[in-house]
């Protein structure tokens, strides 16, 4: 197995989870309903935990330790999709992103739990149940709000339109795509995307929302290769503010 290919996949997964977990944690204490505040925070913690699990696999492959990898790289060294780095906006945008992201994430976890690369398969199998809750949470909210008041539907629709190009950017292929597919690591981005589309369509059809016409949308690619929006570097600077006071210190 090409180790570079595995590393690239692991970075993609871990960076997505870290950045989204970080973004979602910004809601803690500011949520729209007390109980939702708590639920959203749990999922943010899960995401950070998932990234740690994948950074740990990277460390086993010779990369630096997770704290160093997460807290000292610059934006152009991150492999996350641009979707996860966008600011939280209002709750409608955060929910739509959560819905679009986690419906893809669960498919990755399902595929990876069958992976020929055993360390990934083990982690994915163990953590799959957590992502299952994230998807249940996202779908329940979209179904409820997506068929409620005009105000809510309008908000969600506009966030959906705004997020969709970035969501399609999640499926940007890596340069090792074919190798990973051939080696049975997972079925590749095309396959994830096809299944994702089926699943989000099924939810959206139960609401008054409309899926934008994907044929007319230019996906926001680049994230997987270190090209990011202007939002990522400030996020990373903020995240590492204390850590960088002394990166060798034990905090």
């Amino acid at each position: 197995m090409n180790e570079q290919a595995i590393k690239d996949l692991l970075y993609k997964l871990a960076d997505d989870q870290l950045i989204l977990g970080h973004r979602n944690s910004e809601w803690t204490g500011f949520g729209p309903i007390l109980e939702e505040d708590i639920a959203f925070s749990s999922m943010a913690q899960d995401k950070i935990g998932h990234s740690l699990a994948f950074y740990t696999l990277l460390q086993e492959l010779g990369e630096a330790e997770p704290d160093t990898v997460a807290f000292t790289r610059n934006a152009n060294q991150f492999h996350n999709s641009q979707l996860v780095e966008l600011p939280n906006g209002e709750y409608d945008f955060s929910l739509i992103r959560h819905f679009l992201y986690d419906n893809a994430e669960i498919i990755r976890f399902e595929m990876l739990s069958q992976s020929s690369y055993e360390p990934i398969a083990k982690v994915a199998t163990k953590l799959k149940g957590e992502v299952k809750y994230h998807v249940l949470h996202a779908n329940t909210w979209i179904k409820n709000l997506g068929s409620s008041t005009e105000e809510a539907i309008l908000r969600l629709q506009s966030s959906l339109n705004e997020a969709m190009p970035y969501a399609l950017g999640m499926f940007e292929k890596s340069k090792f795509e074919q190798e990973l597919i051939d080696a049975g690591v997972y079925a590749g981005e095309e396959a994830v995307k096809a299944e994702w589309l089926k699943r989000i369509t099924a939810v959206i059809e139960k609401t008054d929302l409309k899926l934008p016409d994907l044929a007319t949308i230019e996906p926001k690619f680049g994230g997987r290769y270190g090209e990011h929006t202007e939002h990522l570097q400030p996020l990373l600077d903020e995240m590492a503010e204390v850590f960088k006071i002394d990166p060798t210190a034990e905090w």
């Binding site: 309903i33 109980e35 939702e36 639920a39 149940g129 809750y133 409820n144 903020e238």
Partner: protein, 212 residues
Amino acid sequence: MSLKSLDPRVTRLNLPEGEVPAMEPKPELDQFETYEAFHQKKEGAAYTYVGPVHAPNEDVAFLFAKEQYSRRFACTGLWIVRTENVQVTPYGNDNENLYDSLQFEVPTQSSDIPEPYEIFHLKKRGKAHTHAGRVMATSYEEALQEAKQAFGEKGPIVNVWVVRSKDVLQSAEEDKDMWTTIPEKKYREAIAYKVMDKITKYKEENKPTTAQ
């Protein structure tokens, strides 16, 4: 100018600086219904009351209760009941059996088909209601009567909750994996934080020098 806070998240909220106009009273509509949650600590254990959540419907109540009541301790299942659907008896004294003081009317022959009811007992004031079991009945009243016969002998019981089984939203068997990793989340357990070594080392290195 917007408020610059020590908290970068607050700065991003773009709050107006200085005096803010008084808030309009919150409209009544903000008040959701409440749902009561019961959890199962381990396989085969009786479901126990953990507390309420505010939610617009039982699906959302489940999402909420799952994180509010089962994020920190082992759990294998969750039940949700709308508060309004729980029939509550009066509270008795500690160390007494409430069933002894309940007066039942002689049951009239009912042509209704019996349906299952869930019975919860409170054994001591201040503790939590625990699932005692299920009975078949055609009304809450009859369910209570059946419950007395089925599991009312073992006192003390200070309070009883009766719920129609069909009003209980139960977590599905195949959703158990949503809880499997909870015991591994050590970062939120006291036991993960051990600093005696560091303190001892610090004290060793910084002993006040005593005169010879």
